[in-house]
Symmetry: C2
Subunit: 416 residues, 2 copies
């Protein structure tokens, strides 16, 4: 129908005209109105403690300990289980977070979408190994979060303010030509980010050894840029919410129990279904029996057409997530053109002769083709605190799109 | 013949076992025995002043001015034309240099090939625009060379000594998965190099603004790693020289007038032919009429199987040098397998499902197939001082390989 096409063109225009700029790093409490004590933001659609998977519970206990709301992990878990902690999705507070997606008073990034004035937030990436986003909550996890809050965050914030912000679309454009798909592979963008920040970090950080440690931390973490890409994705998609009659997906997210999507016309409403298990490759010593179900806000990266949608950019990641050969990587992206409304003029894929990345997932096309969006994801151990055990691909459940279409049809006055 | 196969296996073994490590940056005069005053090392095989092209003459005049052997450019050119300057190839002094390839008392890199104990040298990359390697010799060129000698070189040298050297093969391996072919595209390796050096640079450089300028210079130069890759190539290939009965090419180089190759069995001997004109794309405002013939020691990168030989790594560079589509990039590398003896186990190409880069150019295979090695090259303006006007591909002249085979046959006692 013309009214839907017109609405979707508006959605695509807003995506195309977005100008995401990383402008600062500040404590969450200064940024997110309403983020008070005894309040934890998590990945995915809303859920209650009883529904939460192991890694999510582990991360929450660690976050409570980090914030000082309980003296130890046992007390923290008791506090959380006893209904004394308010849980809300990151997405309800302009934020996103990878895997368990903890956001409390820790250190979020800001990405300002200058064209539309909205802001989006995401915590700093903690690196690999035992980290809170995979549910770990030991002393080294808490200690690292304090270093991020007290040392890295303020330094990055000062350097970003000094240079007036860092434009993200050009960095992502270069990263796509350097084998990143911005979800499971971020080595290029992480390196380009360090390169862009190094001069101002040198100017802003007085202590040489501290500066050296900052460079070593960012430089030792090939996924550092993931959280920046996620905040960018949120900053791009939020202005697309609420366009009457638009069938473009504005968010995809998982809390370890349910997978939720949002669609432009239906605004803030979540359409959920049980999450699926990622299919992938496991690190030595682990198998599918250890895997937690799909979790994290990181699928915001696929929502803007990167990650699994842009698999063609990253034949090296196709092997890492068990998606097959270099030719298979191209096929993944070619199929995603069938469920998207346009191709991104700013983000192109050299291996597809500079075709643009798939842009604007249309729920109608997903249901017409039966092709669900493909998501490249890390796989968490199902027990809290054990961290990442592999990487793979997962599909957004088709049931989410079916429910969304039913609601959309009702809203439009069309019989189901 | 078995004797040739055995010799070539030894050549391949030495290439495979090479361990190039960047260990220091020091003034050339401290490193190269015999590099005295009034002596200029240049790219390519030997030639005399009367044979030299415009950019080479321009660069020599600038180098003389930089060294203080003449008060101005006119006097420098008169000195050079008057037979008062000794000219020698870089290759005769364990060195290489891009384009005109000037090496005097300026600031070379060291790459030590730890496995075999040899060393190879190359000046620091000057960046883009008006630079000596393209024949420019104005005050800003001389000034930049002084900053490289007095500020950047000592800082990098100190940081490299602090970390005990930087292993280069792993960086190149990552770069190949990030779209670099290490000749006309080095953005990934340049970024990875900065990332690897940043912590120790922070420790070694006391002045914050100086440190910021160092990061800005390296970070603003996507070709910074080219010169490191060239020294690495020289460090890998020099131990392959002089294996009796080996038909593997150990060097390819051009001085703007002649193209020369060296072959393992025939040691230091050059087999030369007139250089060809690169075929490529020109920057706005320039055309083939402005182009200087092919020049530079940089084809040492192709000699180890990178650059044009590894075009499959870099579909983005295929467009830049006018070599066609992404599919064409794969074809270039596939054809180069026909003239090489092996595939590199350390350096693999994701777009070819992790096949190794072509390794060990065999002069017999070049002549059997009629396929000359393909070289990705920058194109200099034919007038000195105007800099780069484009980029393209050029072929090593088949006549070099014909002459080499005749000499090889004579050495082996085989009738031509």
């Amino acid at each position: 129908m013309d009214i839907i096409e017109t609405a979707n063109r508006e959605a695509l225009r807003r995506m195309a005209e977005a100008e995401p700029v990383l402008i600062d790093v500040r404590p969450a409490a200064e940024l997110i109105a309403g983020l008070g004590p005894h309040m934890v933001l998590h990945a995915g659609p809303p859920l209650v403690w009883a529904e939460m998977c192991g890694p999510l519970r582990g991360a929450i206990a660690g976050a409570i300990l980090y914030e000082g709301w309980a003296p130890d992990l046992a007390a923290a878990e008791a506090l959380a289980a006893g209904g004394r902690i308010a849980f809300h999705p990151n997405h309800h507070f302009d934020a996103v977070g990878p895997m368990t997606g903890m956001t409390t008073a820790s250190m979020p990034l800001i990405v300002e979408n200058r064209r539309f004035g909205n802001r989006a937030y995401c915590a700093l990436n903690e690196g690999l190994g035992k980290v809170m986003r995979f549910g770990a909550n030991g002393p080294e996890v808490i200690e690292r979060l304090r270093w991020l809050a007290n040392t890295l965050g303020p330094a990055l914030g000062a350097a970003l303010r000094e240079q007036g912000g860092l434009k993200l679309k050009p960095i992502v454009a270069r990263g796509l030509a350097m084998g990143d798909e911005m979800h499971q592979r971020n080595i290029a963008c992480s390196s380009l980010f360090l390169r862009a920040m190094a001069p101002d970090l040198a100017r802003e950080v007085g202590d040489r050894e501290t500066l050296a440690q900052i460079f070593a931390f960012i430089g030792g973490n090939d996924q550092f840029f993931l959280n920046i890409a996620m905040a960018m994705g949120k900053a791009i998609m939020d202005p697309v919410k609420g366009i009457a009659a638009s069938t473009i997906v504005t968010a995809m997210s998982r809390n370890g129990s349910t997978f939720g999507i949002r669609v432009s016309a239906t605004g803030e409403q979540w359409f959920t279904a049980p999450v699926e298990m990622p299919k992938g490759l496991y690190f030595p010593g682990f198998s599918a029996a250890d895997a937690n179900p799909d979790i994290g806000d990181s699928a915001i990266v696929e929502t803007v057409g990167l990650g699994g949608m842009a698999m063609a950019a990253a034949p090296a990641v196709a092997g890492f997530v068990g998606a097959g050969s270099a030719a298979d990587a191209l096929t993944y992206t070619r199929r995603m053109y069938e469920i998207t409304a346009a191709r991104n003029a700013d983000w192109t894929l050299p291996t597809l002769d500079f075709a643009g990345t798939p842009m604007g997932i249309d729920i109608r096309k997903v249901l017409e083709t039966g092709l669900a969006p493909v998501i490249n994801t890390g796989i968490a151990h199902r027990e809290p605190g054990l961290g990442q055990v592999g990487a793979g691909i997962v599909r957004a459940p088709l049931a989410c799109f079916e429910k969304a279409l039913v609601a959309f049809a009702a809203m439009m006055g069309i019989a189901p």
